[in-house]
Symmetry: C2
Subunit: 414 residues, 2 copies
């Protein structure tokens, strides 16, 4: 079955805002075995929304709207869809009471325009919104002699997600032929896209019933596998067969087999080994600590560290001798190792990570160009240092460096 998604809102037609709800909705629909064949963004304009609705109903069996359900004059999705379907709106007493109550419990005064949020399209089922005043609406029926499902959801992502999960997923599943979709994601750190694809394309192409997508981000490759079958067991078996074959080829370059982030995987290994981690970072300026601590519960294994941007701080917080910095320069193998060892000693953590490099755009030289980074990992078995020259701008260089450092911890503990 095919679906399309219409995002409503003039702000989504400015240079500043992209529609991201459709990515979430696509993921949810794909998991139900529904393909998205068209997406559009339309402004707060009754005629345009109505025309887009008519085109969509012609094309797709399921049409999902996000946005335009607010209380202002600009919120026109209800009116436009009713017009496109040739039906009327009625003010629903129960929805109105719910909105009034929501205002009352917060001690707010409801302005008269809020009442329009109780307007319901003839024949629609109201989808209650636990997170806001904009109720969703569900319309199933024949239009132009075609069986169609039309769903109106509010634009704020947390409201849209809540409504989809509680009110739409099971209703949609009940309308669809029984099919199970299995997925797997493999993630690979610090290899290039073409290098990965050259190694794995001959393998995944052998599995015709599994759809494989390769996605490249900064310092990370994701391989997405998806297959559909009558039963979940059959779908899962197909996906696993393809993913396992690819994983065997890539071996320990695969850091995650089920979609976890590198930060989560590092946390997982640290807990498995009953180990703790401290960091001392210069050019990454806090990014490495931020990434590690972005995982909830990371205080169980991450003790913290030092952002040693100035040379004085390298000495003060991580105990790097000033004479060493003078002799080898702040960006050097020696200082990276001293940062890792110094912060490990100070914090009494199991592992210490040190990073020093030239993130640019200024500060590079012929000998030490922008992109040169030293990464060090100190443990009771000694200190390992990796030197790299990263391409790209300041932001990419910092991201690559923090990714490589995280991957050093993973490989150490594996």
């Amino acid at each position: 079955m095919n679906a399309e998604i219409i995002a409503v809102g003039s702000e989504l037609l400015t240079p500043f805002r992209a529609d991201t709800n459709s990515l979430y909705l696509t993921e949810q629909l794909n998991q139900l075995g529904v393909e998205v064949i068209f997406k559009s963004v339309v402004g707060d304009d009754l005629k345009q929304i109505a025309a887009a609705t008519q085109h969509a109903i012609f094309r797709s069996e399921i049409v999902i709207f996000s946005g335009g359900l607010g209380p202002t004059e600009d919120d026109l999705t209800r009116e436009a869809v009713a017009e496109a379907l040739g039906v009327s709106l009625r003010r629903d007493a129960q929805v109105l009471a719910h909105i009034e109550q929501r205002f009352a419990t917060r001690g707010w005064k409801m302005s008269p325009n809020n009442a329009k949020q109780a307007d319901v399209i003839e024949g629609a089922t109201v989808l209650p919104n636990a997170n806001g005043t904009a109720a969703g609406q569900w319309i199933s029926g024949r239009f132009d002699n075609r069986e169609r499902t039309i769903i109106l959801l509010p634009g704020p992502p947390h409201e849209l997600k809540g409504l989809f999960e509680c009110e739409c997923r099971e209703r949609l599943r009940a309308k669809l032929p029984p099919a199970s979709i299995a997925t797997r994601v493999l993630k690979i750190a610090m290899l290039g896209e073409s290098a990965v694809d050259a190694r794995v394309a001959p393998i995944y192409k052998r599995y015709g019933s599994v759809q494989t997508t390769i996605l490249a981000g900064a310092g990370e490759i994701q391989l997405h596998f998806r297959s559909r079958a009558q039963t979940m067991e059959a779908a899962q078996a197909r996906v696993d067969e393809a993913a396992d074959a690819v994983e065997e080829e890539l071996d320990d370059a695969v850091y995650s087999r089920n979609g976890e982030s590198l930060e989560q995987i590092v946390g997982y290994w640290l807990q498995m080994r009953n180990a703790t981690l401290a960091v001392a970072e210069s050019c990454t300026g806090g990014l490495l600590a931020e990434r590690i601590s972005s995982v909830g519960g990371s205080s169980r294994y991450f003790v913290g560290g030092a952002v040693v941007y100035s040379n004085a701080m390298k000495t003060e917080l991580a105990g790097v001798p000033a004479s060493m910095i003078e002799r080898h320069g702040a960006v050097s193998r020696e200082v990276a190792a001293a940062l890792a060892e110094g912060v490990r000693y100070r914090s009494e953590a199991t592992l210490g990570l040190g990073i020093t490099g030239v993130a640019g755009p200024t500060g590079g030289s012929a000998e030490k160009p922008v992109g040169l980074v030293f990464h060090a990992l100190a443990s009771d078995s000694g200190t390992e240092v990796i030197e790299r020259n990263f391409p790209g701008d300041r932001q990419r260089i910092r991201w690559f460096a923090s990714t490589l450092a995280l991957d050093m911890v993973r490989r150490k503990l594996m």
Copy 2:
């Protein structure tokens, strides 16, 4: 004049990829005085692309395609647009020679399917692509008795941008009535969207010739002003009048008047005052240091700091007495102040920032719930502490806390 943008490519209908070319194109079109009234994403499907083309020509005077100009069987934009316009494709000898030459100079063998990239829609002007083999195409004419301009551009962003800038901008300008567009952006930290809008809407609504857009992000509001006039002076005067009136109302809540980020503004003030900054952060886990050091050249005013995730690190790196932590708890006014003062003392920086709080999802209590954060700024005139209860998840709470801390520095130095 109105435009719409059609992004072609099945990968843009997956959960993993969003169309971003349209944001760039919208910005460029807006600067020419053209409004974007519709955007769509369509897969690699001849019929669907042709149908979308017909709808677009009906709706909009300018239609821009991105993608679908590659050499594979899936690349169907040329064929579909020709079909929608009811004209034929011809293979262009000059374009073909250019493609062959591009392959030859790189020592590559051209595969036969590449020849289809030389197919040109009848009546189209070829737009040479300096960055790839996919040439753009420009069609101006009457279709269904309407004057229309249809532009085909390649999908890779750097190719699309190069082609738009070199081949499209001046051609479009020549078709448009002479107009100049001026813009201004005001940014406001740590005020709510409705609070800002209630104060400024009565003001900006007085300036009918200036289009004002209010955009809310986490902890930040942006007010975008845009106006169009015969001359740039007239357009700029209108925008400035509206922006200045709004700025007067918001006073020192406005941190940026020309689009700079809060991190850049903080760096600017630190350099103006010849001051340096150090940070000691617990719940933000490095995010504050990362944001400050994300600005190129920040080593001139940012010395670094400590990520004091564990209590032991609060004592070891920022000198917070263990007894103070025991008495008041790690999340307390006292510890925040001690962090700011401790890191300032250790680093000899002009200003010290301290943050401690509960970022969640676990670790909250009735007395100290998730979202409670203390922010402290130490200087030679003493230490200021701000306590806040932030809503949202771990990521939002950390972002809010780091934004508030940055804003404390700005207000201190202003």
